[in-house]
Symmetry: C2
Subunit: 766 residues, 2 copies
Amino acid sequence: MKPYVKQDPWSIIEEGFDPQKQEISESLFSIGNGHTGQRANSEETYSGSSLQGSYMAGVYYPDKTRVGWWKNGYPEYFAKVLNATNWIGLKLIIDGTELDLAKVEVTDFRRELNMKEGFLKRTFTAKLSPEKRVHIKAVRFVSMARKEIGALSYELTPEGFSGQLELESYLDGDIKNTDANYDEKFWDPVNQSVNGMRASVTVKTKKLDFHYCTVKETEIHQNGSYTPIESTPVLRDKYAGVRADIALKDGEATTIYKYTAHVTNRDHAKEALQAKAEQALEAALQAGFKQLQKEQAEAWETKWLDSDIVIEGDTAAQQGIRFNIFQLNQTYTGEDARLNIGPKGFTGEKYGGSTYWDTEAYCLPFYLATADSRIARNLLVYRWNQLGKAKENAAKLGFTKGALYPMVTMNGEESHNEWEITFEEIHRNGAIAYAVYQYTDYTGDTSYIEEAGIEVLVEISRFWEDRVLYNKRRGAYMMLGVTGPNEYENNVNNNWYTNRIAAWTLSYTLDTLTAWKEKQPELFTTWQKQLGITDDELTKWGDIRSNMYEPYDEETGVFLQQDGFLDKELMAVSELEEKHLPLNQNWSWDRILRSCFIKQADVLQGLHFLNHEYDDETKRRNFDFYEPMTVHESSLSPCVHAVLACELGYEAKAYDMYLRTARLDLDNYNNDTEDGCHITSMAGTWMAVVQGFGGMRVRNGELHLNPVLPENWDGYSFKIVFGGARLLIRVAKSGITVINETNQSVELSVNGSRITASANQEVKAG
Amino acid sequence: MKPYVKQDPWSIIEEGFDPQKQEISESLFSIGNGHTGQRANSEETYSGSSLQGSYMAGVYYPDKTRVGWWKNGYPEYFAKVLNATNWIGLKLIIDGTELDLAKVEVTDFRRELNMKEGFLKRTFTAKLSPEKRVHIKAVRFVSMARKEIGALSYELTPEGFSGQLELESYLDGDIKNTDANYDEKFWDPVNQSVNGMRASVTVKTKKLDFHYCTVKETEIHQNGSYTPIESTPVLRDKYAGVRADIALKDGEATTIYKYTAHVTNRDHAKEALQAKAEQALEAALQAGFKQLQKEQAEAWETKWLDSDIVIEGDTAAQQGIRFNIFQLNQTYTGEDARLNIGPKGFTGEKYGGSTYWDTEAYCLPFYLATADSRIARNLLVYRWNQLGKAKENAAKLGFTKGALYPMVTMNGEESHNEWEITFEEIHRNGAIAYAVYQYTDYTGDTSYIEEAGIEVLVEISRFWEDRVLYNKRRGAYMMLGVTGPNEYENNVNNNWYTNRIAAWTLSYTLDTLTAWKEKQPELFTTWQKQLGITDDELTKWGDIRSNMYEPYDEETGVFLQQDGFLDKELMAVSELEEKHLPLNQNWSWDRILRSCFIKQADVLQGLHFLNHEYDDETKRRNFDFYEPMTVHESSLSPCVHAVLACELGYEAKAYDMYLRTARLDLDNYNNDTEDGCHITSMAGTWMAVVQGFGGMRVRNGELHLNPVLPENWDGYSFKIVFGGARLLIRVAKSGITVINETNQSVELSVNGSRITASANQEVKAG
């Protein structure tokens, strides 16, 4: 399908109605506020192909695992984010004809996702009969300012006729996940009620007892002012609606306002849910639609102030990067440490809405650099909260100590069940340790380590200790039977990246303990006692750190992705005929596995994370060796390569890599946007711009920039929240400008030169 | 559960009724004739736990595959043998009380599987009330002489009362496979009818259009003679029964005879099914139950004449080996080349009743040595018939030439879907080539090679050519990403066995072509043309054969199971605490994979197949290295080790290995006999006795024996069909006797000495 989104710096725009594009648009135009999310389904009935999706963060269901061949250690359940009560629904029958865009003629259709102010707007004209047209303007948002509130306005203006609107404004909790393994419904009714124009539905999950209550008020305005309406209730299990007959006048607008409050027993006592929802709803009603919309615009203004990127001279690029930032901010807002970032956010239900290592490896840098540090900190607290389950997971797999974080999880329990990934892709543990380092180094805030992080580091280190094997023949520690970041290799021995990140974890844990032993001996002693840290253990970790086997080839000077990698037939992706790509659609799995082709950065992931430990020549040798064999069939692959390519001066390659993800969903590059947007890879695009083109690094608490300007751009600028200040970095042909937008002065280096960005000052730098 | 089968040389006997044992007994006491099979379910209603199982050879269903995570190349369907019309059923209500062993008191229960004559017999007394007892004697069999016929007699004798029997003698085709992936029923009704005491049910499969027609006649005998009875029909979809009221007299026997004919459109035209069944049934009725039973005894006498093994001084061993031979003969009779040997035969539905490499690797030797050569030949023809599908399979996985036989199949298409097995356990191709060699060398019959086998060999050789990779660094051909026979390793590089059997295949194919080029140049030329054999191809095969990489360790002098095997922590199974075993129930899959422990013979499988190519010291080094690490968690493992252990003089080890399979099902060793018996591993037990203790080998068409007598036995004897003769080999403390029971003299060597076994003569040999 040809890309159809109109280019615009601040909005995603679709013009003209095409049923073929509805499910893609439902994903693209999704709205969310970190608490709830809503695909861009239409308010009115749509009988065409559609994935109705309303999601509540943190409300999940343990769906019974489906697997062909069971392996010992597989989880019995797969936690899934739940598709929940549809709160936008309006059934609209005008003079006997139902408004359904699959059935009436539609003209002047325009859909806009306004990213600047955070709302979705649709306008169109429906031709109900040769004589009867109705103009529709629908606006909706979920409030960033009031997390439990969603609101919509739906304006109808008849043209050429006056008539009768039969309205049913409803809440429908009888919803099924499309990805249910056994076609089950996960929701049971609790109660539903109607009182005048107010309706409420409470449902609960069949397992885990999540209660979800939605209350809505419907208001009708005509001639610009509130019009009281007679209504009758429509009630059945999990469904509550109000039905009303409304007279429509030719040329006059009738507006239906629907205010909803969404609350769950994650945040409130079960018995208080309805009262809490009513309370939030009342406040919203008091404020009114306009005020709520104003608050929404203000909340987004604040978000953009911290995180905007401006690209000059390339509207497509501008729109792409803003779309990514917008979606990241819609998905995770960082107030609730029990939440995390599902690969599809609130835009679809694929991948169960669960947490992957994507969070630590790809998303953390974005939130670290574009928001208050507590946002990123909560991503770390999430893992700390789940440490107990990670220890259980390690024990379940037969380890005698330590914690193995799950590959995919909602509540800390493993959800995935492919042995080669679930049991073997253990490098995820390293990324979680690395996140502790990254956060602490970036923010200078040691409180996380002191309160929680040290326990995470110690338990992960213990896992590595138990997982390695000392090989006497080689006098080194090894790790057999792992899957590295490149999932196009399974069950390999001594994946360089995994061995390296394990050794790095031990090193960082030991260095942290040593540092605290010196500067805070009492705290160190407390840790020793509480965590049962022994000297023998520390000695052992030191030994493993120093004697970890790192496969390396003398001849080429590259780290070997794994033992035996050079036994493969080595060739560049460019030598393959087009018809073979993407490999994952054209090759059998065994053929992929025994080929040299790489799904996503593996050795290079290590050089990315541990960037400061390797010199340029080492990076160049490995990049030159591995990148040509990389098919980038994970949306998380190009960003890491873009960052390294910039560092090595391969600007064309970097730009090429950047392009592969910048508009991945907007242009439906992988033909799968209808399932939802690739949220976690959006953070990778941000990384490609800021760490890639911007050359941003923080090491030892110091901020470094080495910006380059892609040829196709006139200039660009990005924000960095660092050291209590917010900097705007502008890169133009004429040079680099650093603008400190805050009252806090900070130091940084630009192209190797140390400069001071004084409070509220602008400084030219190179 | 404690073993409960009574020891007896010719029968399997259960005494006393225990509901806990019913499902195990249903498997153990199964009857079959290669065409149909029936678990030992009771004729009368049984409301306790039971797996009702009636199976028809070659009638299968493509059940939709169930898999957690799809991989490119997976088959969409899994062919399953079908649980089909229940033909044994009798509903018996005596004076208002239904005879149901789960509900009435049962005494004097005895069940016997008479292996000598091939029938199942049950006798018991049911106490219907304090005053009313009824003695039951039920006998049934499926006829070896008339493949489409099954018959049963069911005798009731009231004690202490005369009363009324309400009988419903039925055929029930409304049957579901317990292993249906989506709980579907696979059968649709075609028609059902009743005519007097005759009933018929025809059903067809929802896919593939298999039609299965069963016709039955019920006869009542009282006072020893036929008694006409009034009956009424009971008809519904897929079900036909006759209901009759019969007066039972105190102390007098009433016998219900049920004769059935089972026919399918595999053997007859669809429209002629009922007529064919009626015809077969009429003939059976003419013969009568006694005559049918006599034919059955005669047919089994012939089977035993060819295949019996006698063990003196050890009844348990005697019963065990006869049970294995009996089941093998019940499962496969070799008349129909479209059939093969499912791992559970007709005793259960696990593993889909499909064909595995078990056939070539473990079963072929049994059928070769205990029956006319056409029986074994048909197992080869089966693969030849499926060559087209094997070529399709290779193409589907991306190969440009050759054939890859499926891991699991019913009709030649792959059914299995674990990538590490389906795509990677390619050594199965080698076993299929090896079977051609084994058959030809054993029988001296070159007609299979000439008519079909050469094409199989050429296409398998072409597959190996395409599958290997020339490694310039090492100057050798390699195979990356395979799974060897030891499935406790997945996706390894250069599994020695796989590399070796591939090189051997190329060698055997080349040698065969060369031999025919010399002796039958015209045929060779025809092959060249028909199969498109080129000189380049032959040169290439020669190069691969000579330069195949074989991992070997200089220090220990052993072949390496795979690259990197010595990097593992090597330890003996005996060093593990008991609680860890069996590993497959106690360890997570990754732990199993990265351990050194071996599921079944892998390197040793190669030394078993290519026994003649290796000297004793090589075998000993490898056996001593690998056997202690072997957990034998496949029932196919111990036999290969028993054979090698005997050869190496490790008699105690051999006997220990023999014991692990000899009574595997009879003593329910693995706690899974209720799913069905381990048919293919039964051939392994035969192998342990004849190739192990008997030391039987055939090389270059010559028969060799090197018998040893296990300490626990007084003596043993076995049969070998070879060179047109049938030999009885008797091994006693006093020496070895060879008795030629036929008119055909043959030569053989015993303990290295050449002797002649003259027609109908007995000869002492060592």
